[in-house]
Symmetry: C2
Subunit: 401 residues, 2 copies
Amino acid sequence: MAERFGELAPPARLLLGPGPSMVHPRVLRAMASRLLGHLDPAFLRLMDEIQEMLRDVFRTGNQFTIAVSGTGSAGMEAVLVNLTEPGDRVIIGINGVFGARMATIVERCGGRPIRLETPWGRIVEADAVQQALTRFYPVKAVALVHAETSTGVRQPLEQIGPLCQQHSALFIVDAVTSLGGIPVEVDGWGIDACYSGTQKCLSCPPGLAPLTLSDRAVEAIRRRTTPCQSWYLDLSLVADYWAESKRAYHHTAPISMLYALREALRLVLSEGLQARFERHGLNSIALMAGLGALGLTPFAEEGHRLTTLHCVTLPVQVQDAPVRAELLQEFGIEIGGGLGVLHGKAWRIGLMGESSTQANVLTLLGALEKIFLRHRWITQPGIALQAASRTYFGHGQQVPV
Amino acid sequence: MAERFGELAPPARLLLGPGPSMVHPRVLRAMASRLLGHLDPAFLRLMDEIQEMLRDVFRTGNQFTIAVSGTGSAGMEAVLVNLTEPGDRVIIGINGVFGARMATIVERCGGRPIRLETPWGRIVEADAVQQALTRFYPVKAVALVHAETSTGVRQPLEQIGPLCQQHSALFIVDAVTSLGGIPVEVDGWGIDACYSGTQKCLSCPPGLAPLTLSDRAVEAIRRRTTPCQSWYLDLSLVADYWAESKRAYHHTAPISMLYALREALRLVLSEGLQARFERHGLNSIALMAGLGALGLTPFAEEGHRLTTLHCVTLPVQVQDAPVRAELLQEFGIEIGGGLGVLHGKAWRIGLMGESSTQANVLTLLGALEKIFLRHRWITQPGIALQAASRTYFGHGQQVPV
């Protein structure tokens, strides 16, 4: 039979949306390696290496540190369905799409979400968490989104861990858009369960959810009186496959994705976490300076903005969808539109992992300038690039011509 | 920081276990293509193409035909958690590990599994299904494993669909180890929900679960009075992403895995389903002839044996684990051990997709002969290869020297 569809030939894209981010060629190459069986001793060694590197990236000594066989949302579901038993109260900070998603999952487990609703763009205050912990005692867990991908808010976490411990609650953190881009201190901040996705600041294709559990969280799963509602994501079963002493078959691991993750983690640790955070910081300042010159304003409250994902609101005259279409079709650049209430009113620009480079910031700003000039939304060429270059020069770096 | 772990260098393996199977280089190459965003128009076109090709492979016109973002077991869970509501009775044929797993999942949904227990190695009889349908009426669904990977049994399905329709029950089929290797006629057999894995007869790396639902099954999901317990696998939400008219973001699709699946499906359809089934049939006969000469006996009842996965029991003197270790270390060949009650007593040899070739059959038999001779379990060199070659000659093919 003739082949109905042609050879795979994805067009070139500069991925500056909320994920996936750009992937290093070494990661793509690793992913294309010949397969091993999921119980092959050579593959089990790779899993050990992945666990070791994930511990470094999560900044934890947690034995239970794995990659769940699904995308970031599977990590969220895995944590919540394993830690929530019917009737459990879970305090959830809701200031964007992903907090709301956590509440939905807790409800589907038969848990009782206590919604700490906060306006989009603002952080959840530690005081509010403390009051809820007291008022609703006993509470099974507090769940917060570290990096709210829908708003660009960076949630402070340092004070929450101790509060949770004082009230015998577990501390759950969504680090999907933060891990590998800004500091995530699982042990230092007293986090009991933390999950992420591979396709954000780790710059690995989507398909896995790194996840770590403290001993307290593992104990809570062990003490469950009802089985976890998910078999596929039942971490007590998944753990028996990842545990060096057992290696019990649960489901076939996504071999090639784990190859990719291993290579991505090697790159992350080879750059060094601190250097990586600084790189994300510098490029973020330059991007925001350039976007500001174009009249775009940060949505998240000052002092709590992510350097990995930038949510900016549009001036009234700027049309959302047409500009994003021009960026994609003319320049091959992907940025994200607003989610939920921000639909049509904001953009989400990711500078995550491999995507966070000076060249990418300048490429995007140059493209936006061209579009904005064409539509007469600005009149002066070069203003965005100029604003961004001041950032780079201020740090003693040369802007490429 | 220096890199702690070296470059990824998986050893060469001939994958003849219960999966993953060998992957064509074109699939590996496609998987390593540069990424697109999951909402990029170019990526959405790829998804349409994947859906179209999956419909051909499933032999269905079902609109709802997608790939779930998880391995085969995620496909099982997706079907069962979406179709089972609390209190629903589901008849499940249990004659191996995977039927038992279905019952576990149905229980975790609050459903009431009606277990049609049948001895391992035997099929579930249509009469037994009919009696259960009558006795336990109304029943939400009947679920059968088409290809029981733990026993090598091929379950007849032709009579079950009409029985289900007469009793207003949905018909669920696990085609993980059959799709693309032996006929699966979703529409022809009246199957309402069918799922598979990519890493078996489709010869794509593990990480996706192809899944198709009939309109009856979609309607059953739409009529649910309780939300599906899984958010990640909620097919009513997942459908809104795959539907051409909506494309609503649910979770980030595993882009690279979908590249791989597209290429694997092109290869399957380019060979042609019928030619593919015949190839699996021929190599299976040759393998079984050779294994028989070594004293290994098929576990599944005669007339109901798979040509994709061969479960054979070992003569008493043959040791399971040491031989599999020798195969792996000395010859780079992976075969599977027995699961559950067959642990230590049987092997599971897969000839699935790219793994099903004459060269692979002869390579494995040659290696086994060498090991069996060394242990003095056989005395005559060449008996297994000779038995296999008679099959190939009988079909007019040349055995490579």
